[in-house]
C-alpha cells in the first residue's frame, strides 16, 4: 500500500518551488503596488479594461494604425519563439560542453541576433515612438 511516507516527496520539490514563487510574485506585486505606487483614481481608470478600446458603445470605430505596427513587431518575436522550442528540446540531447553543443548554441544566438536586427530596424523606423 502506498503511503505518504513511502512516497519520495523530494521529487515534488520543483513543483512546490514554482507554487511558492507564483504566490510570492502575485502577493508581492499587489502589496508593493499598494505601498509604493501613486494611487490616483479616475473615471477612465475605473472602467473595465478592454485592450485600450472604449468598453461601452460601438466597436466600429477608428483606432490608431500604430496598433498594427505593434502587432507586427510582436509577430517577429512570436515566430522566433516557435523556433526556439525544437532547438531547446534537441539541445539537451547534446553532450554538455562538447564542440557540437557550442556550435548549436552559436547558431541559435545568430538566429536570435536576426530578431535584434528586426527590432533595431523598427526602432530606427520610429515604431516605438509614442508621441
Amino acid at each position: 500500500m502506498l503511503t505518504l511516507a513511502a512516497t519520495d516527496l523530494s521529487s515534488y520539490l520543483p513543483v512546490m518551488l514554482i507554487i511558492t514563487m507564483a504566490i510570492t510574485f502575485a502577493v508581492a506585486n499587489i502589496v508593493l503596488t499598494k505601498l509604493i505606487g501613486p494611487s490616483r483614481d479616475g473615471e477612465v481608470k475605473g472602467e473595465s479594461y478592454e485592450s485600450g478600446m472604449n468598453p461601452v458603445g460601438t466597436a466600429r470605430k477608428r483606432f490608431n494604425v500604430r496598433f498594427y505596427l505593434i502587432a507586427m513587431v510582436f509577430l517577429v518575436f512570436d515566430v522566433e519563439i516557435i523556433f526556439l522550442y525544437p532547438w531547446a528540446t534537441t539541445f539537451t540531447n547534446l553532450e554538455a560542453g562538447s564542440h557540437e553543443s557550442l556550435v548549436w548554441l552559436l547558431r541559435i544566438l545568430f538566429f536570435l541576433l536576426t530578431t535584434v536586427v528586426a527590432y533595431l530596424y523598427g526602432f530606427r523606423k520610429g515604431v516605438f515612438r509614442f508621441d
Binding site: T114, V117, L120, Y121, R124, K125, G126
Partner: protein, 553 residues
C-alpha cells in the same frame, strides 16, 4: 562548419549584408545613408567570392542533381547582380526622405529597397543549393516576395507611382496564384514519392516508376514555376508589369526571378531523369524525360517561344517589346532542359546550354534595359519621364553615340548574331536539341530566331539608320552616371565573354555535369557511379572538352 553550411555560405553573407543595409538605410546621417548601395555591393562581392569557392564535395554530399551548378549559378547571380546594382542608382528617390536636411525615417525607402534587392538574390542562390522541396518553395518565395514590393517602390513620380502600384498588385496576385499552383504540385510529388528530399524522390521514381500522380504533380509544378520564368501558361503579367515598373526594375525582373525559376525547373525535372533511351544525332545515345512531362515541357517551350516573339513583334513600346522577348528567351532555355544532359559534352548537354544561356541573356538583357534607363524625356513642365516607344530611340546615334553602340550590340546579341555572346548562347541549345533528336523543336527554335530578327533589327534600325524626329526635343540622359557604367559593362560583357579565351563556356559546361543520382540514367561510359569521382573525373576531362568546343566553332 559542416558541409551543408558551407554550401550556403554565400547566402549567409548576403543575409548579413541585408541586415546591415536595412539599418544603414535609416541612419540619421545623410552620409551613412549614401553608403547603403555601396554596402549592398560589398555584400554581393563577398557572396560572389564565397560562391566561387563553393566546395564541390559538399554539393555532391547534399545529393544535388548538378553539383557544380550551385557555385556557377551563385557566381552568375552575384556578378549580374553587381551590374544591376550599378543600374539601380536613382531608382529610389531620396527626396522622400525629408525636406531640407531633416530626416523622416518613415518616408525613407532606400534601406528597404536595397535590402529587398539582396533578399531576392539570396532567394535565387538558395534555389540553386536546394535539395528539398520545402527548401525550394521557401527559396522561390524569398526570391519573389521582395520583388512585389520593389516594383511598387520603383515608381518615383506621383504618376509613375500609381502605375507601379498597379503593376505591383497585378504581379503580386499572379505570383500568389503561381505559388499556390506549384505548392500543390510539390504536395502531389511528395504524395507520389513519400519524401520531400529531392534525391529520395528521384530514387523513388527510379524504383517505382513515374505514376500518374507524380506526372500531375510535376505538371502543376512546371505550370506554377513558369510564372517565375515568364513562360506560357503564366506569361500574361510580363508586359504589364515590366511597363509599369521602372526600366531598372524591369531589368531586374527579367533576370533574377527567371534564374530562380530556371534553376528550379532543372532541379525538379531531373528528379524524373532523362531516362528513356532514344538514339540521337551525332551517333550518341541520349535520354528522354517521361513522355507526359516531356510533352508538357515541349508545349511550354514551343508556345513560349512563339507567343513571345510574335507579340514582341507587334509592340511599339520598347519595354513591352523587351518584356515579350524575355518570354521568348525563356522558351529557348526550356529547349535545353528538354534536351537533357546528354553525354555531358557542351555541344550535347542541354542543361549546360540552358545555364550558359542564362548568363548570356542576363548580360545582354541588362545592357538593353540599361540604355532605356539612361534616357528620359521631358513631359509637361519640369516633369521627366522614362522613354517609352521605339520612336524615342530614333537617331540615338546622333544624340548619344555611346548608348547607341550599347543598344546596337545588345539588340544584335539578343537576336543571336554570330560574333556576339547571344550566338554562342544559342548555339549549344541548337546542338544539344539536335543531338537529343528533337528535330521538330529545333525547327521551332530556328523559326523563332527568324521572327526575333524582325523586331530586334527594327530596334537597331531606329537607333542606327533613322534620323531624330524633327521638332521633337531629343531624349536626355538621366543624371546617374553609374547607369551608363552598367550599360558599358554589359556591352563589354556581350563582346568579351564570347571570346575563346574566356572560361564562361567551360564553367557552364562543368555546371551542367550531372551528379551521382543522375548517373544511372547517363548512358555513356563517362558516368562514374562513384559519387565524387563522377564530378572529379569530369573536371579532369574539361580540357579535352574545351578543345572540342573550340573546334566546333
Amino acid at each position: 562548419m559542416d558541409l551543408s553550411l558551407e554550401i550556403i555560405a554565400p547566402e549567409i553573407a548576403l543575409f548579413v549584408g541585408c541586415c546591415v543595409v536595412m539599418i544603414t538605410g535609416l541612419s540619421p546621417s545623410q552620409r551613412v545613408r549614401d553608403l547603403t548601395a555601396v554596402l549592398a555591393g560589398l555584400a554581393l562581392v563577398a557572396a560572389g567570392g564565397l560562391a566561387a569557392n563553393t566546395p564541390l564535395e559538399a554539393a555532391v554530399e547534399a545529393g544535388l542533381p548538378f553539383p557544380a551548378m550551385v557555385g556557377y549559378v551563385k557566381v552568375l547571380v552575384a556578378g549580374v547582380g553587381l551590374i544591376l546594382l550599378l543600374l539601380m542608382a536613382g531608382t529610389i528617390g531620396t527626396a522622400r526622405e525629408g525636406a531640407d536636411g531633416s530626416f523622416n525615417p518613415l518616408r525613407a525607402e532606400r534601406g528597404e529597397f536595397y535590402a529587398f534587392y539582396l533578399f531576392s538574390l539570396t532567394g535565387v542562390m538558395l534555389c540553386a543549393s536546394a535539395s528539398d522541396l520545402i527548401w525550394l518553395f521557401l527559396a522561390l518565395e524569398l526570391t519573389s516576395l521582395p520583388t512585389y514590393v520593389m516594383v511598387v517602390m520603383s515608381g518615383r513620380s506621383a504618376e509613375s507611382r500609381s502605375r507601379a502600384q498597379e503593376a505591383g498588385v497585378k504581379y503580386f496576385f499572379l505570383g500568389a496564384l503561381s505559388a499556390a499552383t506549384f505548392l500543390y504540385g510539390f504536395a502531389l510529388l511528395y504524395g507520389a514519392s513519400g519524401s520531400t528530399r529531392l534525391p529520395e524522390i528521384a530514387a523513388a521514381f527510379e524504383t517505382h516508376g513515374v505514376g500518374s500522380l507524380a506526372t500531375l504533380g510535376m505538371t502543376l509544378t512546371l505550370i506554377g514555376v513558369s510564372f517565375k520564368i515568364a513562360a506560357v501558361p503564366m506569361h500574361f503579367y510580363t508586359a504589364d508589369v515590366y511597363e509599369g515598373s521602372s526600366s531598372t526594375m524591369a531589368a531586374f525582373l527579367a533576370f533574377v526571378p527567371k534564374t530562380a525559376g530556371m534553376v528550379s525547373i532543372i532541379v525538379l525535372v531531373s528528379t524524373m531523369g532523362w531516362r528513356g533511351a532514344t538514339s540521337g544525332f551525332f551517333g550518341s545515345e541520349t535520354g528522354q524525360l517521361p513522355v507526359a512531362v516531356d510533352v508538357v515541357l515541349w508545349g511550354m517551350a514551343a508556345l513560349t517561344m512563339t507567343v513571345g516573339n510574335v507579340l514582341a513583334w507587334l509592340q511599339s513600346s520598347v519595354k513591352r517589346m523587351l518584356a515579350y522577348s524575355s518570354i521568348a528567351h525563356s522558351g529557348y532555355m526550356l529547349v535545353g532542359v528538354i534536351a537533357g544532359p546528354g553525354d555531358g559534352a557542351m555541344v550535347h548537354n542541354g542543361i549546360a546550354a540552358a545555364l550558359f544561356y542564362l548568363l548570356c541573356y542576363g548580360v545582354m538583357n541588362v545592357g538593353a534595359f540599361a540604355v532605356l534607363a539612361c534616357l528620359e524625356r521631358e513631359q509637361g513642365v519640369g516633369r521627366r519621364a522614362e522613354i517609352e516607344s521605339v520612336d524615342d530611340l530614333r537617331g540615338l546615334r546622333r544624340t548619344h553615340p555611346g548608348l547607341a553602340i550599347v543598344m546596337g550590340i545588345c539588340a544584335l546579341s539578343l537576336l543571336g548574331l554570330p560574333p556576339l555572346l547571344g550566338f554562342w548562347g544559342k548555339f549549344p541549345l541548337f546542338t544539344s536539341a539536335i543531338s537529343a533528336g528533337r528535330i521538330p523543336l529545333v525547327v521551332v527554335l530556328g523559326l523563332n530566331s527568324a521572327i526575333a530578327a524582325f523586331y530586334y533589327l527594327r530596334l537597331v534600325a531606329a537607333v542606327w539608320l533613322e534620323d531624330p524626329e524633327k521638332g521633337v526635343e531629343a531624349a536626355t540622359t538621366t543624371p546617374f552616371p553609374t547607369r551608363r557604367v552598367a550599360a558599358g559593362i554589359s556591352a563589354a560583357g556581350v563582346v568579351l565573354l564570347a571570346m575563346p579565351g574566356v572560361r564562361a563556356i567551360n564553367a557552364s559546361e562543368r555546371a551542367g555535369a550531372p551528379g551521382a543520382w543522375l548517373a544511372p540514367f547517363d548512358l555513356t561510359p563517362r558516368a562514374n557511379p562513384d559519387e565524387a569521382g563522377a564530378v572529379e573525373a569530369h573536371h579532369a576531362d574539361t580540357d579535352q572538352d574545351d578543345a572540342r568546343v573550340t573546334a566546333s566553332r
